[in-house]
């Protein structure tokens, strides 16, 4: 589907440079995530698994701060703290 849209838009999509091939690791993680999500919804509620999975930007922001030493903005820190509380509530509930 992505290839189809890229072709329709007339942009290059064939992986050529190193960066594109590094993205293969994202594919490995993506496949693992799909498996985990399937296991989660088979034993738990979709409402819970779906909402918790949708919190993935928190991991992106946390990794950017830790690995890339990017600054976390104040509202993002508030969001991260809120996410911590939210996950704790769901885990305890």
């Amino acid at each position: 589907m992505t290839i189809g849209v890229a072709t329709a838009l007339g942009v290059a999509w064939l992986p050529r440079d190193r960066a594109a091939f590094t993205a293969a690791w994202a594919g490995v993680l993506s496949a693992a995530a799909t498996l985990m999500f399937l296991l989660a919804t088979q034993s738990g509620l979709l409402t819970v698994a779906g909402v918790l999975s949708a919190l993935y930007p928190a991991v992106t922001v946390a990794l950017a701060a830790v690995v890339l030493r990017e600054a976390i903005h104040r509202h993002q820190a508030v969001g991260l703290a809120l996410i911590g509380v939210a996950v704790a509530c769901v885990a305890a509930g």
């Binding site: 490995v28 903005h73 993002q76 969001g79």
Partner: protein
């Protein structure tokens, strides 16, 4: 950007197929349809997210897609009859503004798209990823042959 998406999705597809072959199941036709829906959601979500992030305001597109991704499976689950407890609900309701705050990054550089385009890209990305989660959640653990013998009436149980 597109090459990155293609490389990641290609590897994910190969690995998932490998996993599926290793753990041979007994999927019913409806399972295949849910899988198709999940694939369309995933591919569509990626396309609109990349389009939105590439040309638009990240501060609008990213949080919209994140909150949409959380909302779709939530609504589908509740409509399908899921009733989480009060504490779980508290966490779920807190998670929505929280993920908005985390995903909202200040916009750098110049945007080449209109506010309406950013809105559309963000919403469609959220709808796509949300549909991916919601559709994946419909695939049950029990094999199709087992399900036809003892139908509980609920396709997700």
């Amino acid at each position: 950007m597109w090459a990155v998406a293609v490389a990641a999705q290609f590897v994910a597809a190969v690995l998932t197929t490998g996993l599926a072959l290793a753990f041979v199941g007994d999927p019913a036709t409806t399972d295949w349809l849910w899988a198709l829906g999940a694939g369309v959601g995933s591919g569509g979500g990626t396309v609109f997210l990349y389009r939105g992030l590439g040309s638009g305001r990240m501060g609008v597109v990213a949080p919209l897609s994140a909150v949409g991704t959380a909302l779709v499976p939530l609504v589908v689950g509740v409509v399908a009859g899921e009733r989480p407890g009060a504490l779980t609900w508290t966490g779920v309701v807190l998670a929505l503004p929280a993920v908005w705050l985390v995903a909202r990054t200040p916009d750098t550089g110049t945007s080449t798209s209109s506010a309406a385009q950013d809105l559309t890209n963000g919403l469609l990305a959220g709808l796509g990823f949300g549909a991916l989660f919601a559709a994946l959640g419909q695939v049950p653990e029990r094999p199709a042959s087992d399900r036809s013998r003892s139908r509980s009436g609920a396709p997700w149980s």
